[in-house]
């Protein structure tokens, strides 16, 4: 018997999703930030995304419940942003042990609703289930959304020679940012509307995990300038690459677009850094040490 922990997370996902029969309306199946299906309206696509938080993995009971709720929805919003889209309708699943405080569950719901409303979406339904006494709780958010077809940005469109940029600063998210972050919706839409973005994704598992994913999806290798990686104050390069839960954007654009983008960015978002951290290369995307790995020994 081979256990899930004997494989890397990406191998598990790859082996499982290979078993699926993908319908002909599906434009992008498993593997990007969201799934993309043919849109009901001309010039639009529908986006679908689901994401879950596990107690003891993604949050602890010491964290304020309202922030846990915010985070559960904000993670999904961040994925829509990374495709150049926005969420519309949300379904939330809350599976908790019977001994959990009712007040905790209500604060959780308030936080989810607050984040949905803040980004123009609405929780339309969901499920409340029990897990066995003493088992960790789980919160899952599934969402539909849309993007203008012209603004849709995938992970897979990067080209050799593209410059790579990240927004904000990386690392140290566990100090609090992972519970309170603002998804980069405004920034992503601004970028997608003004510049021909080749590829984009949000950084949830750490640059060490996510950069090889974007490069790999684009069929490229990459060169990372570690010195250039913008670090949260008080963190080293190891944390900046590996902590994860940054929820910043990673973008690939042509060198020419990159220069123009950096100039305009500084005027529009003077308080948020946009930093060139390397480039895509001809080659194969090697894995890097660090970053968040599900199923790994800890």
């Amino acid at each position: 018997m081979m256990r899930l922990e004997d494989y890397g997370e990406d191998v598990v996902v790859g082996r499982l999703t290979r078993l699926l029969t993908i319908g002909n309306q599906v434009i992008v199946g498993p593997g990007d930030d969201c799934a993309v299906v043919a849109g009901p309206r001309r010039g639009e696509v529908s986006l679908l995304k689901t994401d879950c938080l596990v107690e003891g993995v993604h949050y602890t009971l010491e964290a304020p419940a309202e922030q846990v709720g915010w985070k559960s929805v904000a993670r999904v919003v961040s994925d829509f942003a990374a495709m150049g889209g926005a969420p519309e309708h949300l379904l939330v699943t809350v599976a908790l042990p019977p001994e959990r405080d009712m007040g905790w569950a209500e604060k959780l719901y308030r936080g989810m609703n607050k984040c949905a409303v803040r980004f123009g979406a609405s929780v339309v339904g969901g499920e409340t289930s029990s897990v066995p006494r003493g088992a960790p709780g789980l919160i899952s958010v599934a969402a539909t959304g849309r993007a203008r077809r012209k603004l849709l940005v995938l992970r897979s469109g990067g080209r050799p020679g593209d410059d790579l940029f990240v927004t904000g600063r990386l690392g140290g998210s566990l100090a609090g940012k992972h519970l309170r972050f603002l998804p980069r919706v405004e920034e992503a839409l601004w970028l997608a509307q003004r510049f021909p973005l080749h590829a984009m994704m949000d950084l949830s598992d750490g640059l060490a995990k996510d950069l090889p994913r974007l490069a790999g999806a684009s069929g490229c290798g990459y060169l990372l300038d570690e010195e250039a990686v913008p670090r949260t104050r008080g963190t080293g390069i190891r944390e900046a690459l590996g902590d994860g839960e940054d929820y910043e954007l990673l973008v690939a654009v042509s060198k020419r677009t990159g220069r123009r983008m950096a100039d305009n960015w500084a005027k529009r978002f003077p308080k948020l850094k946009l930093t060139r951290i390397g480039e895509l290369r001809v080659g194969v995307a090697k894995t890097m040490d660090g970053g968040w790995e599900h199923f790994a020994e800890r």
Copy 2:
């Protein structure tokens, strides 16, 4: 501190969903089998549903993984059927402990895919997450679908004097049916296309829980003819009302429609019973003993 187990499941759901801000595109929010939002196409509505299975609550590791996968998708398909609709795109979340067998996860996925394909839907994405070592696994399926607006059937349209019908036989699902059932998609669509159905839902928590829910949503009381309830061979009335996971349809129609419906049904589905089990009344829907209760002491 009040714990979730100090409240009934319906109270927990009611208190939590009250906290949500429902958008103006939402036709039916939390409380029915699916959420209903304005459809992209004229004459259609979009349906949204999420549902989860918890290890040790909804399935055990002794159950064949492929059947667990089938069940996780079939439950959602059953909810779409109960609204007069059908599923389109599915997102699946599988949260498992690291020690779980990779082969088990693959069989699970095969079962999910098989059920999706069988009912014309497609798994377009999802998430694989770890739960802490030793914790129970969880499988969540979120889906979008659609219904013709004219065929949409809610729980809330029942009227005093309506006859109540159920399909099939109730009780004893744990003997195997709960893992292998065929959602009543064909039957529900046939009914919705031919008869003015006032209300419909699928029976997942047992008639004892679900009949008061349909009556309550319709603002009615009810009279149940316990003698008439069609029981699975070898089960008593207690099991028929309380075992749950029947995934049969509960339908409310006018008495006149009921007679016509029963006649035609016998010709179209000679192998499946359709049984009148009572009627809706003026009054308040009292709760019944039995049926599946999340968060309850067990």
